[in-house]
Assembly symmetry: C2
Homo-oligomer: 320 residues x 2
């Protein structure tokens, strides 16, 4: 039996992961809600990770692999301080405590793999040209602080052998399908997705902003690779900076031009937003993710490729 639980299974990445893992007969999804086309309808549970009793019930099913993707996104965590810490930090604490109880109750046999989606928001400036694997985590948003805190908890529970965790500091995922969300990074997808679909998009930052991206397909690949990783190779450092593409917004827009012409580019309207600028200016721009590469994690080679992934997988007109 290889039971798999996806916390945050109703979200964009959770759904893509669930579809990819479609062959797993014992796949369970947990979230506050699910889209209508969610797979594996019988294994969906609706609930909140703010409820420790609910978390204990999930832990009691003793899944072998737990993907923990549930989070309050960066913009919302910045606006709603309590909610952000509650979901992004305390729910990790309750989850780890519940799993430790199961570990103890099993006589030490039960020790699940946990794949946790952290974020490059654990970093804060000033930055070197490229961020190396030994660069400090000094977050400048509540979201980043919450993710960094959860990473530390997961690492210590893993070091003690209660669980076997990996934290993946995901690049900003782009191009996200569907509607904009409350993440401060939402526009990075919007300025590609909306123009490709004939709609206008707001660009709230100058086009000189440089950032670090990978596609949803690459993200799902990271998650599955992490679930199968030999964690002894992590040598106690269980948070990984992942591969991605470093490019400016201007580079993104040039790639959009190559994919869909000037007509698409003309749909991007600059409307600077000081709040978003402030958050995004503190974000990292480029990485040298040597450890993750040596551990076999792979992502796209260009932003053009990232746009192609969207057009192949998610663009409404490209679907049957």
């Amino acid at each position: 039996m290889t039971g798999t639980l996806i916390l945050g299974g109703g979200g964009m990445i959770g759904q893509k992961l669930a579809h990819r893992l479609g062959g797993d007969a014992d796949l369970k999804l947990f979230d506050i809600g699910f889209p209508p086309d969610s797979p594996a309808m019988t294994n969906q549970t609706i609930g909140s990770l703010t409820n420790p009793a609910q978390i204990a019930r999930l832990a009691a099913t003793r899944p072998d692999v737990i993907y923990h993707l549930a989070a309050i996104v960066s913009g919302e965590a910045e606006q709603d301080f309590e909610k952000g810490w509650d979901i992004n930090m305390m729910s990790m604490w309750h989850l780890l405590e519940a799993l430790r109880q199961e570990h103890v109750a099993s006589g030490g046999d039960y020790r699940p793999r946990i794949v946790f989606t952290s974020s490059i928001a654990v970093f804060g400036g000033p930055y070197p040209e490229q961020i190396e694997d030994v660069f400090l985590s000094a977050p400048q948003t509540s979201y980043g602080a919450q993710k960094a805190t959860a990473e530390l908890m997961l690492a210590d529970f893993s070091r003690k052998g209660f669980v076997d965790g990996v934290s993946l500091r995901l690049p900003t995922i782009c191009v996200r399908p569907g509607k904009p969300n409350k993440a401060a990074s939402s526009f990075f997808s919007g300025i590609i997705r909306e123009p490709l679909n004939g709609q206008e998009a707001i660009l709230p930052v100058p086009d000189t902003v440089r950032h670090w991206h990978a596609s949803p397909r690459a993200a799902v690949g990271f998650l599955i690779h992490a679930a199968g990783l030999d964690t002894a190779r992590l040598e106690g450092r269980r948070a990984l900076n992942l591969p991605g593409i470093s490019c400016t917004v201007a580079d993104q827009i040039e790639a959009l031009r190559r994919a869909a012409g000037q007509e698409a580019v003309d749909r991007v309207k600059v409307q600077l937003d000081p709040d978003i600028m402030k958050i995004v200016e503190g974000w990292p721009r480029d990485f040298d993710p040597a450890r993750a590469l040596s551990l076999g994690f792979t992502a796209e080679q260009s932003f053009d490729e990232i746009i192609s992934v969207y057009m192949e997988e998610d663009m409404p007109s490209g679907r049957d």
Copy 2:
């Protein structure tokens, strides 16, 4: 009014700080217990930081400066996982939440300075020759993970303006007066203190072990300097690596010989302890604490000076 609260005021550093701040008429100490010669007897409160209601009562007194020194030490936190996380992490969370409530209730006026004693145990190997200020925190003990987590919380509550915190990553304090404690680092003091007082001391690690030290006097100096620091100069990075002395145990023993002769050195007995060796081998050996130095933090210049501080301040025969 300049109300000052010392959490962990009954401990060794807390007591030295209280004596140094003796002129502060509104000094309050909080701890699970106090030594008989504790100063300011009328302002001592006995209680536990595991009790959120007690923490809320302390916060309601709205001290301007809070020194948060209370902790479960490294050896005990490694043995008692629950207690370590409860005291070293959760009590920081409850304290910050209680202070945020006071901040809100005051209409935003109340924003205390918090000086938190973190530790160089937030680091884990492999290390560079010298640890620079941008080196990652990847702790390899529960104590280190708990301190690193508390640092992140304090930084985010400070960034939001609820409190105004500084985390001090103290070197291993040496020479501690009194009896050995459960810290894995306790022997670093024991191998100096006991021989100076005519007693045998156990050295549980090879004398090639290199580590990073400052005296209790320097530690109190760090705390008071941090309480008066212009935190705008921290530029959002509120955890500081502090100055100290990098030396091997063999260097320590040579300094002991210079201070008290071969007779004292002969009282150090090697008796290797694999548990302590394992913890201590993961600890940092040397730092380049450029930021703290530029912010005016100072410590001893040699291990001989560290021994002198003990002989002047704490050695029983040196007291009247």
